[in-house]
């Protein structure tokens, strides 16, 4: 009788080394990049899944609206109070509208929306696709002659790309109104003075850079959520792991992307 080789090689035993982990991360990044390319190539070629896009845009957007608006409202309240307090030290509290609008439009509205809504949307997508992966529904889509990227990923990523900028605009408005009301109450700055100063200070690029950030963050959230969901391993435990990893990855990626986009937009 011939001697069989062991089913699992000796190299597999023991915990993975730092090198193995780095290699795994790089491979994962490579796979995400490949998926991104495939998603874009499918998104621009027919057939287009309009129904799926509308469904996901509505479900992701409408359900995320309360948390996005609540976050924006409190962000507007807090920064208006803070800026009002500090500017009043120098006797220029009437300029608070200018500072608040620039801070909100350029930075706080897109980033806070992405961090709060993104965690919700990204983990939801990862959990949904992860559950489909472990129950072989994604394999079934392929086995039945369809393309999971086209059916599952493209509509979700495009929906995120639409939803985040729209929510950012809502957050801009709600944050600004909340800020105007609180400084009116706290520092007796009239609404007219607040908004006049704000509108004088803000330029279209300030508004556009925030919306652009929202779009990039939406893309990151959609892609990371889908990627983590489709690459789930290890059953339901793996689904849980994928959702927490999605929150961590999207949060770090949003902060990194924010830095580079800010650099880019300021240099233009």
């Amino acid at each position: 009788m011939t001697t069989r080789q062991p089913e699992v090689d000796a190299a597999a035993s023991g915990p993975p080394s730092l090198m193995d982990r780095a290699k795994e991360r790089l491979e994962s990044l490579g796979a995400l990049s490949r998926m991104t390319g495939q998603v874009f190539s499918r998104a621009v070629r027919p057939p287009y899944d309009w129904r799926g896009l509308v469904f996901h845009t509505e479900s992701l957007g409408v359900r995320s609206l309360p948390i996005a608006l609540l976050t924006a409202m409190f962000a507007g309240l807090v920064i208006s109070l803070q800026f009002g307090y500090f500017l009043s030290r120098f006797g220029v509290q009437y300029t608070v509208g200018r500072v608040v609008i620039l801070t909100l439009f350029r930075e706080l509205a897109p980033v806070l929306t992405a961090l709060t809504v993104g965690a919700r949307i990204g983990s939801g997508i990862a959990a949904e696709l992860g559950a489909m992966t472990v129950t072989e529904q994604v394999d079934a889509i392929r086995a039945l002659g369809a393309d999971p990227l086209r059916k599952l990923v493209v509509p979700r990523v495009l929906a995120c790309l639409i939803v985040l900028p729209v929510l950012t605009v809502f957050a801009d408005v709600v944050g600004l109104v909340a800020g105007a009301l609180v400084v009116n109450f706290q520092y007796a700055i009239t609404l007219n003075l607040f908004f006049q100063g704000a509108l004088d200070a803000v330029l279209m690029p300030d508004f556009a850079s925030g919306v652009f950030k929202g779009a990039v963050f939406g893309l990151i959230i959609g892609l990371v959520g889908c990627f983590r969901g489709l690459t789930v391993e290890g059953g339901t435990e793996g689904v849980g792991r994928a959702t927490t990893q999605t929150v961590a990855t999207t949060s770090v990626s949003v902060c990194l992307a924010d830095f580079f986009i800010t650099q880019l937009t300021l240099s233009l």
């Binding site: 129950t135 392929r142 002659g145």
Partner: protein, 272 residues
Amino acid sequence: MRSSSQTPSEFAFQPPRPGEQLIYFEHLTKAFGAKRVYDDMDLDVRAGETLVVMGGSGTGKSVLLKCLIGLLSPDTGRILFQGHDLTRFTEEQFIPVRRHVAMVFQGAALFDSLNVGENVAYPLREHFPDMPADEVRARVAEKLALVDLPNTERLMPADLSGGMRKRVGLARAIATEPEVILWDEPTTGLDPVTTQSINVLINSMKTRLGCTSIVVTHDMVSAFTVGDRIAMLANRRIVQVGSPREMLHSTVPEVRAFLDARRVELFPGGAP
């Protein structure tokens, strides 16, 4: 056998003669990281037969089906389907193959967000996008009736029992009228009565539709009930292929060990 030099784009299913070699797994190797599943494995499937691939858990039975339908790729070796080397096919080139080779998944893999009717209609809409809605509805009703689940189109997968889910999974698999059906652990997790009804269903697919079936299972009763031939997968290769009678009297150690373990499990005090 046709030459394997045909390009994948030329793939077209040719009705085979009964008993002719339809599928051939040739020198297949497959590993997941350091875990090797197949080493130089060979297996052939003949047209019209029900071939059961038997083996213990984790021996790679389901991997075999997934390699055949292109959900996984072998590391080396060839999978010849009517002479076409499927290992060279791209995802896009696999689509026509998947119209002729359908899979019934272990947990049925029904789409939770779609009702039974929409699940069964899914492959029809993918493979025949121009099929009129009336015809799709009629085909769905016909296939559901074939698996003894008439008028269940509006039910959601969550409303179905395990056996019903398997049946809907089968109705969905046969919606495009495939020539080959792949069964992944069809009776796992089912009670004996439902198991028997699934076995009857597998046999009826052969007699009523003339399908070739590959059934992977570790359920010996099911294997001996439905199989025309049984292949034993152990130690990363097929150690024996034969009729149920031949397998029952096998002297191959891996087959004997599997049969004896099952006998002990069924009759702990000794076989009657």
